[in-house]
């Protein structure tokens, strides 16, 4: 027959009591922090998964910031190009009027005034800035790309002898790089200014032949600006889709992260209650078993 000794009972009681308190402590910690684990070794697999998700979420935020900045940049570009197209259309109207042979010198002078005004305006637009950066000077964002000149040579309009055709890039996803700028060279600003100077010169010297072709020239320029604008639009779309995608991903990942490391409060409270009962019963049983001895019954 196996013997039971007083110390066995006490040790057992203590062991159960400690175990119960440990679980109570664990549930309390989970409920007060709202997290399933406070050390990696509590749940190594889940903890690392949670760490990975946190990194993904943080970098998604950066990618969203990058994409949104790209969108802003492209918005400024788009506005500028819109302005360019509108101005070129006005110039086209002037070209139509100028092509009409029965103009008085006074009329021509008025049109020339208008053309020069609009040319200056276009130069201003070509020097548009986003923040401190010139948007049409490629990677040389610090330098003003264009200056006014009374020349029909496109190179004379380049403020620094050349415009940069460098691409400004933003990472909008692991390894996904998008250009956010359109360079002045792609739009052909210098050529437009030279053409406009030619237009103005033709008006001044009544060069009917040039005036006749001017409408076609301007149409060509409008076409190429519209082409650039379409490109800007499609990049804007792409970036907007990227932002949308990351934003919905963020919700999904945040949800997974919560499932990975967050505590199911209802479940944990149930477990806590359960453990609390076990704890109380352990205490009550201990109190009954430990106290009485034979001595209480001996006279």
């Amino acid at each position: 027959m196996s013997r039971i000794t007083n110390n066995m009972i006490i040790n057992n009681f203590l062991a159960n009591f400690t175990r119960s308190q440990k679980s109570l402590n664990k549930y309390m910690e989970q409920l007060t922090t709202g997290e399933k684990f406070s050390r990696i070794s509590d749940e190594p697999i889940y903890a690392v998964k949670a760490m990975k998700l946190e990194t993904i979420l943080q970098f998604n935020e950066k990618y969203i910031e990058n994409a949104e900045e790209g969108i802003n940049w492209l918005n400024v570009t788009d506005k500028a190009l819109d302005d360019v197209v509108k101005t070129l259309r006005k110039l086209r109207d002037s070209a139509v009027r100028a092509a009409n042979g029965s103009l008085t010198p006074d009329d021509r002078q008025k049109i020339q005034q208008e053309v020069l005004q609009l040319k200056e305006h276009l130069i201003d637009v070509a020097n548009s800035r986003y923040g401190n950066a010139y948007i049409f000077n490629g990677t040389e964002t610090k330098l003003q790309p264009y200056v006014n000149a009374a020349s029909t040579d496109p190179d004379d309009y380049l403020a620094n002898g050349s415009v940069s055709d460098g691409k400004l890039t933003r990472e909008v996803g692991a390894g996904i790089i998008i250009d956010i700028n359109v360079t002045g060279a792609e739009i052909g600003f210098a050529q437009i200014f030279a053409d406009l100077q030619a237009f103005s010169d033709a008006l001044e010297y009544d060069d009917t032949e040039t005036l006749q072709t001017m409408m076609g020239t301007i149409d060509k320029r409008i076409e190429s600006v519209l082409g650039a604008r379409a490109q800007v639009g499609s990049r804007q779309n792409r970036l907007e889709l990227t932002v949308d995608r990351f934003e919905s991903q963020e919700i999904a990942y945040a949800d997974i992260l919560n499932n990975t490391k967050g505590v199911d409060i209802a479940e944990t409270i149930m477990k806590l209650k359960n453990e609390e009962n076990v704890y109380r019963i352990a205490l009550a049983t201990g109190a009954r078993i430990i106290q009485p001895t034979l001595m209480d019954f001996l006279r």
Binding site: S2, R3, I4, T5, N6, N7, M8, N11, N12, A15, F37, S38, R39, I40, S41, P44, I45, A47, V48, M51, K52, T55, Q58, F59, K62, E65, N66, E69, G131, N132, A133, N137, G138, T139, E140, T141, K142, L143, N160, G161, S164, G166, L168, T169, R170, E171, A174, G175, I177, T293, L294, M295, L298
Partner: protein, 500 residues
């Protein structure tokens, strides 16, 4: 039988009951003594007295002469003791492992916001910010520097903490060795006392044996010992074949530190040379395969060393990769001009200095460094100064900064074709898994040990109710013996005084 023989018998009975009661008292007194094994008085009848008779002069009926205590027994199961010692080794090893791995975990402190992972993330993120904020003031560049300093300081700190922890484990090992030697000496001394007492075969050195068993249990927790008891009841203890207690002599367990070139842990080459503990007894090399010392050695010489190497690998790769890109770039004020060949291929400026986790730092050169010179962060791939304002016109192009930011996702061969972040997370999760395993092993060993200890209690433990019953039993025995004497006394009274 002589006239007074009965009184003598009664006296012996009284003495025997009294002694037995004393033993019960000893048991009760030691009821809460963990080391104590309960004792039992073995009562035995004294040699009988042969009564000669008329018809059978030689072999008449034998008359009993009472009782005496033949021996005092210790209730102990040697088999359970052996198993407890064995399981104690495992328990010692795993609990030490768990405790110390926890320490490494708290050095890493990875779930906290300040973990290496978070600082790596922040470091790379700040380069993204730099890409977006090329033209503005130096504030973004300053934040890149601050994030880099936080990262390097943390790597330095972890490296130093691991080194200190390694030293601490070393002194723990030395302390445990001293404990082994102390225990061995005490066991040898007890062997001597027990041998002297038990040379009288009727005597058992029960309380001393309890003391010695407790010491052997303690010793078994520290190193993997084997125990043999010889015919003099001396405990001879050996450590994988080398005697550390031989009868009444104890042999010192000695340690020495040898430098070991552990440069190729996991096939990665390092200049780190770690030292290693070697043990010997009487000049013979001793093997330790289990117990607390083994646990400490495993943490110190496998895990900490490996973690330090991996940390160095991370730091070194970070230095190499970031510098390789950064050298190709130009800062805000790196302009082409006389006396430099800045035309192509970058300034060649290092972002980080150092070779491993212990000395990695952001370039703090007082002339051409990064700290204090935010404009020196070489984020642009080219340089020129057309407008002669003393600044690089091309800083709008931050593709070098972007390349550095992209290093985050780059799979790097030196790191086993993983990214920085994944590499570090693998380190952390390996440690976490190692700790859970040690925890599970410790729990298992503890359950096993507790159940064995309960078995031991079943045999050796004192049950107070049982002792109370015994006490009443001996009390009654004593009263009855006293009664016998008093009856004999009355008889003698009749004989002496009533016969006149």
């Amino acid at each position: 039988m002589s006239t007074f023989g009965g009184i003598e018998l009664g006296k012996r009975a009284l003495q025997t009951q009294q002694k037995s009661l004393n033993i019960t008292g000893h048991n009760i007194a030691n009821a809460n003594n963990e080391k104590y094994s309960r004792q039992r008085a073995v009562q035995s009848a004294t040699d009988p007295y042969t009564l000669a008779s008329l018809y059978n002069p030689a072999g008449a009926g034998q008359v009993g002469t009472g009782v005496y205590i033949k021996s005092i027994m210790r209730m102990r199961d040697q088999f359970i003791d052996t198993r407890i010692r064995y399981e104690n080794q495992g328990y010692g090893e795993w609990s030490v492992r768990k405790e110390n791995l926890r320490q490494i975990e708290s050095i890493y402190n990875e779930l906290d916001n300040g973990g290496v992972k978070n600082n790596l993330d922040r470091f790379f993120q700040s380069f993204h910010d730099l890409v977006r904020d090329a033209e503005s003031s130096n504030s973004v560049r300053e934040s890149v520097i601050q994030n880099a300093i936080t990262l390097t300081t943390q790597l330095n700190h972890i490296d130093r903490s691991l080194m200190e922890f390694r030293d601490h484990l070393g002194s723990e090992i030395e302390y445990k060795v001293a404990e082994v030697n102390d225990l061995a000496k005490r066991i040898a001394a007890l062997n001597k006392q027990i041998k002297i007492i038990e040379s009288d075969p009727t005597k058992k050195a029960n309380d001393l044996a309890d003391e010695r068993d407790a010491l052997i249990d303690e010793l078994a927790k520290i190193v993997d010992i084997q125990v043999r008891f010889d015919s003099y009841n001396q405990a001879n203890i050996s450590l994988n074949g080398l005697g550390i207690v031989n009868g009444i002599t104890a042999n010192e367990l000695e340690y020495s530190l040898i430098a070991e070139d552990r440069t190729s842990i996991d096939g990665v080459l390092y200049e780190n040379v770690f030292d290693k503990y070697v043990f010997s007894v009487n000049g013979n090399q001793a093997r330790i395969d289990s117990g607390e010392i083994y646990g400490l050695i495993a943490v110190r010489e496998d895990i900490v060393d490996q973690k330090m190497n991996k940390l160095d690998l991370l730091a070194r790769t970070l230095i190499e990769e970031v510098n390789a890109v950064h050298r190709r770039g130009y800062g805000k004020k790196d302009l082409p001009g006389p006396g430099n060949d800045y035309e192509e291929g970058g300034v060649g400026r290092d972002f980080f200095l150092g070779t491993d986790a212990s000395n990695i730092k952001v370039n703090d050169d007082p002339v051409n460094g990064i700290i204090g010179f935010p404009e020196n962060i070489a984020a642009a791939p080219r340089t020129e100064d057309k407008n002669n304002d003393g600044e690089n016109d091309l800083i709008g192009d931050q593709s070098i900064a972007l390349e550095i930011a992209q290093l985050r996702d780059k799979s790097i061969t030196a790191l086993g074709s993983t990214s920085f972040n994944d590499f570090w997370q693998t380190q952390v999760s390996e440690l976490g898994i190692e700790i859970s395993r040690a925890e599970a092993m410790e729990t298992n060993q503890n359950i096993l040990l507790e159940s064995l200890k309960e078995k031991r209690q079943e045999v050796s433990g004192v049950n107070l109710d049982e002792e109370m019953t015994e006490m009443i039993k001996f009390q009654h025995g004593y009263s009855a013996a006293a009664r016998v004497i008093s009856v004999i006394d009355q008889m003698l009274d009749t004989l002496i005084n009533g016969m006149i």
